[in-house]
Symmetry: C2
Subunit: 101 residues, 2 copies
């Protein structure tokens, strides 16, 4: 399986309402993208100084399904129109993980 | 539950052997840190340009267990002695996720 992970640094003026809008939009993606085996996202809890502000992680069965997710029109819309305006930086990684039992 | 995610940018001279050493060391942590409900890590697969080089994700039940992991002596040893020398940048985020069924 493939674990997709993205961490985001957020612009300072990002509000809780902005993040609620992001979370509501991302929350609809599993219903639109069947390739997503699991999908988690959220704002940083403030447990450690120097952290990023938001993260998304998805699990898919095959490498090509990462593209099914990333290139899905609704994901692209969220990325460019809802989350994108608040992003100061981001790092994405996709790595292989053992198949689930 | 709490999802902990870290993405790493790696220095250019990081070798496959370096990453194998990191992976072998990280692979021992679940056996040493019972608070880890799930633990995944790996090198980027090169599916997308501009990605980071490595990522770790852990799932724990409570916020305070993030510290049990991060401050564990073996985690600190790996962080400073094995992975740290290869890190050009990193972003960590911890966010809340629904309890598992």
């Amino acid at each position: 399986m493939i674990r997709h992970v993205v961490t985001f640094a957020l612009k300072e003026d990002t509000s809780a309402d902005d993040l609620r809008e992001v979370e509501e939009a991302l929350g609809k993606l599993p219903g639109l993208i069947p390739e997503l085996v699991s999908y988690e996202f959220g704002r940083d809890l403030g447990l450690n100084a120097g952290n990023g502000g938001f993260a998304v992680t998805a699990l898919v069965e095959k490498p090509e399904y990462v593209g099914s997710y990333l290139d899905h029109p609704e994901h692209l819309r969220i990325r460019h129109e809802i989350l994108g305006p608040h992003v100061a930086g981001k790092t994405a990684v996709q790595f292989a993980v053992p198949d689930r039992d």
